[in-house]
């Protein structure tokens, strides 16, 4: 029999016992709804955590350092040590090479230095951290007081809340005020040059034949914002930043870093080369961290990322989804028994009809397909209805949760999410379960002896 004829006959048969088939379909729908509600809750929680982690700005980053940074001072230079062939300096060449790797969004140096700032005539020792423009989207700047930097090289600063409270009891009043930043600049020396001419406010310059001079400088920054946490806190979180400045500005300031001092100690001539203590590599998507990390390691650098932590988290969610899926499927398993019951009842009721169909030329396969089509149609309609019901249940749970969160003074969260794969998967699963449930009744109907069936009253 052709598919269209099969579908028409199956549809007609389902309509003829409308109440019973509708109840069976509703049973499937409830099963699918429970499955969808459970899995969408799991998916929603996972999505929420993923979103939070991505926005934290930590899970899409790789921190790159040179192996040389870990070596004891006074050891031979890398060139002299044959075992150091893979150890490379983290210089501008390396930065450009890493930037050219696939899926790398940006590469920037981690600039973090201890220095002195002055506000309202009082001096404070604190840590200054350079922040890239991309950090604007991170959670740390969500709900900040004031604004983000107006431009990449703006003479502006954002303060960490605890530090702002040290400066003044009403931190909001700091916005728009000036903060004086004092720092030591690493100024490269041209031949026969050692002065500090042309600098903002050079007070002292020193040249010990190391290829650069250390110049004491100060710069006035306007306070534009106040944040709760350090957006760059990660592996270097022990040295939390309290004053944040734009990254391009920080790079232009050329503040003396720990690596400069180490290079001088290692070899006076090495001081002429600029290299970074840590480069931060931001990838397009946290999923690409592993591949990029491998590529950077292959280039001869040491890397660190929080990937392992996300791996464990994904494993946890996989287990959670599995359990939610099992509990959600229980109702569908019960519904499948109802399909078997409905179809077996249909065989009893339609015994004579099956005999007539066979007498008119229906093969065993036609009868089997007819019952499969009826089971599949109940699964399809029940699955679609179930997805709609599950979606509604999820919306209600979400609504209730958000009412509760708002009453607790917390921001709304979307803890429920129905991905497209769950919609298709749930309908497909409902059809599959229905077809499996239809195997026995369909086989039984196909086996009916037409002579016996025609005698049935």
């Amino acid at each position: 029999m052709r598919s269209r004829d099969l579908a028409e006959l199956a549809g007609r048969n389902l309509r003829e016992a409308l109440l019973r088939n509708a109840l069976t379909t509703l049973g499937i729908a409830v099963g699918v709804a429970s499955l969808v509600a459970m899995l969408s809750l799991g998916a929603g929680l996972q999505e929420l955590v993923n979103k939070r982690l991505t926005h934290s700005g930590l899970f899409d980053k790789i921190f790159v350092t040179s192996y040389q940074n870990l070596r004891a001072l006074g050891r031979p230079t890398p060139q002299a040590d044959p075992g150091d062939r893979e150890s490379r300096l983290l210089d501008d060449t390396a930065r450009q090479q890493i930037k050219r790797l696939a899926n790398v969004a940006e590469v920037y140096p981690e600039i973090r230095f201890l220095t002195e700032v002055e506000y309202a005539g009082r001096k404070h020792l604190t840590t200054v951290v350079a922040v890239p423009a991309s950090a604007r989207l991170s959670d740390a700047f969500e709900g900040m007081q004031g604004t983000f930097f107006s431009g990449p090289e703006a003479d502006q600063a954002i303060l960490q809340m605890d530090f702002a409270r040290e400066l003044i009891s009403q931190p909001a009043a700091l916005l728009g005020d000036q903060l004086l930043l004092r720092y030591a600049e690493r100024e490269p020396l041209e031949p026969a040059k050692g002065s500090a001419a042309g600098t903002d406010s050079g007070e002292f310059a020193a040249d010990f034949g190391l290829g650069f001079a250390v110049v004491r400088r100060q710069r006035s920054l306007r306070i534009v914002g106040i944040v709760e946490t350090d957006p760059g806190a990660g592996p270097a979180g022990f040295n939390r930043g309290r004053v944040f400045i734009p990254l391009p500005l920080a790079e232009r300031l050329r503040v003396v870093q720990m690596t400069d001092l180490r290079n001088i100690m290692r070899s006076p001539s090495a001081g002429a080369v600029v290299n970074y203590s840590t480069l931060v590599v931001r990838v397009d998507n946290p999923k690409q961290v592993a591949a990029v990390e491998d590529a950077v390691k292959h280039m001869g650098f040491m890397t660190f990322s929080l990937l392992d932590m996300t791996r464990n988290l994904h494993r946890l969610f996989a287990i959670l989804d599995l359990f939610l899926g099992i509990f959600g499927s229980l109702a569908l398993a019960v519904a499948s028994l109802s399909i078997i019951n409905t179809l077996v009842m249909a065989i009893l009721e339609r015994r004579r009809e099956i005999g007539i169909l066979k007498a008119l030329g229906a093969a065993d396969g036609d009868v089997r397909q007819l019952f499969f089509a009826e089971a599949g149609a109940m699964g399809l309609v029940g699955g679609a209805l179930g997805v709609a019901m599950g979606w509604t249940i999820g919306r209600l749970i979400n609504l209730g949760t958000n009412i509760y969160l708002r009453r607790q003074g917390l921001p709304s969260e979307n803890i429920w999410w129905v991905p497209w794969w769950l919609v298709l998967g749930a309908v497909g699963f409902a059809v599959l379960v229905s077809l499996l449930a239809g195997i026995y009744p369909a086989a039984r109907a196909a086996r009916l002896d037409p002579v016996q069936a025609l005698r049935y009253e």
């Binding site: 029999m1 052709r2 004829d5 006959l9 007609r12 003829e16 004579r352 009809e353 007539i356 169909l357 066979k358 007498a359 008119l360 030329g361 229906a362 093969a363 065993d364 396969g365 036609d366 037409p450 002579v451 025609l454």
Partner: protein
Amino acid sequence: MPVSDGAAIRSQRVSRHYAMGTALIRAVDEVTLEVHAGEFLALLGSSGSGKSTLLNLMAGLDRPTSGTIFANGRDLAQMDSEELARHRCQTVGMVFQAFNLLPRMTLEENVELPLRLAEVERSKRASRVCDALERVHLGARLRHRPGELSGGEQQRAALARALVNQPKILLADEPTGNLDSRTGEEILGLLREINHSLRMTIVMVTHEHALAARFAHRIVTLVDGRLAEDAR
């Protein structure tokens, strides 16, 4: 053994036995019979004589315990269930005592059913359904359901359903059994007209000797599953 020229159905020592507890029921017992193409044959016998069982064997609804039965040149005993279904769909048409129309379908849908099973193109179905219903004078009752028709009309609709796939053989199992005598005669008249006009082979099971004698070319009588008499 191939069927001889001019034979629509030929059975060779065909038997159908049933086990009922420890007893063996010989419903059809070594019947050898040849039904010629275009012949109107009546299978006569009392209740339990095996005439319906023999008809079911000819239809391919049942399989013989032993012997061979050829229809349209092919041995039904050698066919698998798919081939038997095709035989029932395309070679034979069946009419039953109880009409066996599907009550929730209209006459049009009932008559279309064999066309669906034979996978006839949709575009050709409507005209074939109309032709079949016109032949039995029910062209105006397309949209009626069986419950809205008299017994005679239902049997005529069943006849249209049996004819719609243009089979070579029409098998009728007590087609007048549920009808009054006048309506029964109308149905038999219709069968004779079909036999004449379409040259269709008809095998009809009946227990009414007088009607069989009036309408059939040949009467074969079965007694206890055995062929007792073959009269023209």
